[in-house]
């Protein structure tokens, strides 16, 4: 059962910002698919501010080189959006894999990022797109790289009076990108492991390689050393194997050895070998 609270439905971003600043003990509710679960377990808030009426938080804008995605966009809408599918395909795939149709119809991108679960599906593809989040409060606006915004499992730099209003992601034309997740069943399951990638290669040579691993380390991350190593190198088995080894080393460096790695590291290895190697390595 939910603990008692006062419910406030706002009709604009401004109203949301004002309410948030003036009401002590308020929580924001977007889709509620994380918040209500926590509240049913006993988390209490005096006020719950429902953001769904704030139209400014919705929508997608192509800003030439980047896409700006409103934080209130649901996973279902992101998964079905043509512009996102075209230039941010990994994110579309990731959002389409979240939970179940019900969860995708309610759950939002903003909620996914602010909740900042290590298994949140949208994080890895957004890291690949060098995403930047915009945060607003009645005192102003700031932007932060997603990589910096999430500081630990379920932890971000968000201020008490801030709302995450949008996310800006590089459009990656000419890249081959994708997203894979592993879960214990075909649907309605949290990712045990996920991998997002965007590759730009020509004539058998890697130009730019972007990889992000989710559900493995405390925060989804980009293995920068391996990415840098691959840039300019030929797309060949020994090169790919070396890069994969670097990724695994980096995971171990970040997290130490964990019992779950007996499963996860071989999966990261095999998925990366096939993603990076293409047919040559499978």
């Amino acid at each position: 059962m939910l603990p008692p609270f006062s419910y406030i439905a706002v009709h604009s971003k401004q109203e949301a910002l004002t309410s948030l600043a003036s009401l002590a003990g308020a929580a924001l509710l977007a889709g509620g698919t994380d918040l209500l679960v926590r509240m049913k377990k006993g988390e209490t808030h005096r006020y719950v501010i429902d953001l769904t009426g704030a139209a400014e938080l919705s929508g997608v804008k192509d800003r030439g080189g980047t896409l700006r995605i409103g934080s209130g966009m649901t996973h279902a809408r992101i998964g079905a959006h043509p512009a996102i599918a075209k230039t941010c395909g990994g994110l579309a795939a990731a959002c389409s894999a979240v939970g179940s149709p019900q969860v995708r119809n309610m759950g939002t991108l903003g909620g996914n990022l602010v909740n900042a679960s290590p298994a949140a599906d949208s994080i890895a593809p957004l890291l690949v797109h060098n995403a930047v989040v915009t945060l607003e409060s009645i005192d102003g606006m700031r932007s932060e790289k997603l990589e910096r915004f999430i500081t630990g499992p379920y932890r971000t730099t968000i201020g008490k009076h801030e709302i995450l209003t949008s996310v800006e992601a590089d459009t990656l034309a000419g890249y081959n990108e994708g997203y894979r997740r592993v879960a214990k069943r075909a649907g309605w399951a949290i990712s045990r492991l996920s991998l997002a990638w965007a590759l730009n290669d020509a004539d058998g040579v890697f130009k730019d390689v972007r990889i992000a691993v989710g559900s493995c380390t405390p925060v989804p991350f980009r293995p920068r050393e391996a990415e840098a190593f691959l840039a300019g190198k030929g797309r060949e088995r020994p090169v790919v194997e070396e890069a994969v080894k670097m990724v695994l080393d980096e995971i171990r460096r970040i997290s130490g050895m964990r019992p779950s790695f007996a499963y996860k590291l071989p999966v990261v290895r095999d998925l990366l070998l096939s993603v990076l190697g293409g047919d040559s390595c499978s």
Binding site: M1, K184, R185, L193, A262, Y263, V267
Partner: protein, 717 residues
């Protein structure tokens, strides 16, 4: 004609419209809410129980302890060994200690949360110990049940084998995961009797237990089955009924209960985790020579249905094959883990996983096709089972294999990681080696309406519709002439539990008998030949009293010899073969089940669509058993971490029916409820082996376990 027809389920419309009164939906004016305080320790003495916090919550009316029980504080379907409310000691996490009754659910739960219990912890026994040397929970030792089957001489049989395969198979706790958690309502009726309506698989049994608990005669108690959202064996034991009866008895007001999902996971019985040492011997031509099976299982601290599981797995140890030399031992041991009890198949799905894997390995060693070794050894008419029973009729096992044989021979791996597997089973219908009768009543009521009174609980398996079809066919009346009155101890006689796939066969036969009684009466009254209307017949005879016709059936079976397990444990058996196609992704260990061909010998199909429904449900449950379901005591709390298959995990299912009629069954029918599940996990596992060449000896074969097997195969290569 009503047999073999896809009559619409009698409960379909109400369920689709949402008007069916599930136990969770029951409400009464002025009703209170009761909730249970449960042990948080696996093994402890109750040093002090402080209920003052609960009474401090406004609206809490009563905290009930074992001291408030007027009658016997024990229950159990087969042994009365489990306390309703713990007295001085708790033996598993989730064991009930108190019942808190409040004005509403929030208040009752708040009260329950404020009870303080001072536990004196005792080291818990968390591993079944067959040696008898380790720590024990009871002075009488850890062995709860021990059953044996002996036929021929396995040592000689093994010596005469060209190939011997031996492995140990392990399974774990499985939750029934019925969608409706345990729930019910209780009240005192105008006559001062206690009435309980609940989500249950058996009403007459529950009445006996309430009578013992409250020390009042059974006539003073009425138990009614509410529309029930699934059972699978988990609503055979007393769940909320005892607490409701106690609360109503003490407070004389309506009381409602419903378990949260977390409570259900914590408190309900589980499928027995079994460890199965299995040795199979065969000659070069594939003929089985000997089977030796040594099984140990974790039964938790109380017996529940452990005795039934123990005997049934020993009896079914060989699977549906004729084996001249059999040695099977099953020991169930007490622990402080969850109480293991009845769950769809009573241990046989675990056994099928073992005997079917074994058979594939024997076939592989001999270079035989898996289907050929099954056809060669399959039980058929005239075969002698492991308990020495000669199958004289209705033994269509080989025919089930023949149904899927064309698909098996034509199978083709379409991509890397695809594989095919077979799984087969036989299953004795009804309880093992004991009397398990059912009664039924058919009445000619007001205005000539025929009323079928049955105590058989409809738990979604379709017994309402099947029993109705049997009555309709026997009587040769119209659908609109018959009214079904089900699941009320006031209007029905004991039909036994809806378990062991027994209701169509046993209650069905009792219904047929009762209907034959009415038929003879109607015949004499001129209904069939002179076209006299039912209403006229009723009006002409109603002054002579109720026109009630009784039916009774107890399947002809016998007890088994203690030392050898020889005898006739069941009057009839169901048989099935499943063929499953999977796709395994080596990189991730993910296994998807693509298609299942399922062939079942049901004796006679009463309602083909309902059978198909049972088989699809059984397949889903088997996919869960094979690939994902795993209850970890102390860890698994809810569906958050307990994975059951979703629609996306479901394969396509093709159903084939074999009708080798059972002479003692109603119109030749047997049962299919549990058989639908039993071979499925086995066929998935064999398909995984075919797909990626690893052998699976432990379930569930979830992504991590499968990837681990694939990895270790790589390194040993």
């Amino acid at each position: 004609m009503f047999i073999g027809r896809d009559l619409d389920r009698v409960d379909a419309l109400a369920k689709v419209l949402g008007t069916a009164g599930f136990a969770h939906d029951l409400r009464m004016e002025g009703m209170l809410f009761a909730c249970v305080v449960r042990s948080t320790k696996p093994h402890a003495l109750l040093r002090d129980v402080d209920v003052s916090g609960a009474y401090a919550v406004p609206g809490v009316l009563r905290v009930v302890s074992h001291k408030d029980i007027p009658g016997q504080n024990t229950f159990g379907a087969l042994r009365k060994d489990q306390p309703f409310l713990a007295e001085s000691r708790v033996r598993y996490v989730g064991e009930p200690i108190l019942v808190v009754i409040g004005e509403n659910e929030a208040v009752a739960r708040e009260g329950a949360a404020r009870v303080r219990i001072d536990y004196g912890e005792i080291d818990a026994v968390l591993e079944p110990d067959a040696t008898g040397k380790g720590r024990q929970i009871y002075d009488t030792g850890s062995l709860m049940a021990y059953k044996k089957v002996r036929k021929g001489d396995v040592e000689k049989g093994s010596a005469a084998s060209d190939v011997v395969v031996a492995h140990t198979f392990r399974t774990t706790w499985i939750d029934h995961a019925f969608l409706e958690t345990e729930a019910g309502i209780g009240y005192v009726d105008e006559g001062g009797r206690i009435v309980i309506k609940s989500s249950t698989q058996n009403i007459h049994y529950k009445r006996v237990e309430i009578s013992r608990l409250l020390a009042i005669p059974e006539e003073r108690i009425r138990v009614v089955q509410a529309t029930t959202g699934g059972g699978f064996g988990g609503k055979l034991d007393v769940t909320c009924e005892g607490f409701l009866a106690l609360a109503v008895h003490l407070l004389k007001r309506p009381v409602f209960m419903r378990y949260t999902r977390e409570e259900s996971f914590l408190s309900n019985t589980k499928r027995h985790p079994l460890s199965i040492d299995y040795k199979t011997g065969a000659r070069k031509d594939g003929t089985l020579t000997a089977v030796k099976v040594d099984i140990t299982g974790d039964t938790g601290p109380y017996a529940s249905y452990g005795d039934a599981v123990c005997l049934r797995v020993a009896v079914h140890a060989t699977g549906p094959y004729e084996v001249p030399n059999v040695w099977a031992d099953c020991k169930l041991l007490y622990t402080n883990n969850p109480v293991s009890g009845a769950m769809r198949g009573f241990g046989v799905p675990q056994l099928a996983f073992a005997h079917e894997s074994q058979l594939d390995e024997v076939a592989e060693a001999l270079g035989m096709d898996p289907i050929d070794i099954r056809i060669r050894n399959g039980l058929k008419r005239g075969s002698v089972t492991a308990t020495g029973q000669v199958l004289s009729a209705s033994a269509g096992f080989v025919e089930t294999l023949k149904k899927i044989e064309p698909f098996w021979r034509a199978r083709q791996k379409t991509k890397k990681g695809s594989g095919f597997g077979l799984g087969c089973m036989y299953y004795g219908i009804g309880n093992t080696g004991v009397a398990n009768p059912a009664n039924a009543l058919v009445e000619l009521g007001e205005e000539g309406r025929v009323i079928l009174h049955t105590g058989a609980c409809e738990i979604g398996q379709g017994s309402d519709t099947a029993l109705l079809q049997i009555a309709l066919e026997t009587l040769g009346v119209a659908r609109s002439d018959v009214l079904l009155d089900r699941g009320d101890t006031d209007t029905s006689k004991d039909a036994g539990s809806s378990s062991a796939s027994r209701q169509t066969y046993i209650s069905g036969k009792a219904v047929q008998e009762a209907a034959l009684g009415l038929r003879a009466f109607l015949d004499e009254a001129g209904y069939y030949h002179r076209g006299r209307a039912l209403g006229d017949i009723y009006r002409a005879t109603k002054d002579k009293g109720r026109l009630l016709f009784e039916g009774f059936f107890n399947p002809p079976a016998s007890g088994l010899d203690e030392a050898t397990g020889q005898g006739i444990p069941y009057a009839t058996y169901a048989f099935a073969s499943h063929m499953t196609e999977v796709e395994v992704e080596e990189a991730t260990g993910a296994c998807r089940v693509k298609q299942v061909h399922a062939a079942h010998d049901v004796g006679k199909s009463i309602n083909p669509k309902a059978i198909r429904g049972q088989i699809c449900g059984g397949v889903a449950m088997g996919v869960g058993l094979a690939l994902m379901e795993e209850f970890i005591p102390g860890k698994t709390a809810s569906f958050d971490a307990y994975y059951i298959p979703t629609s996306l995990d479901m394969p396509r299912v093709e159903v084939f029916l074999v009708e080798d009629e059972e002479p003692t069954g109603p119109f030749g029918a047997k049962g299919v409820g549990e058989p639908a599940l039993i071979p499925q996990a086995a066929s998935v596992v064999n398909a995984v082996t075919d797909a990626v060449g690893v052998h699976v000896y432990e379930l569930p074969c979830h992504v991590e376990r499968l990837k681990g097997l694939i990895e270790s195969k790589k390194t040993t290569k």
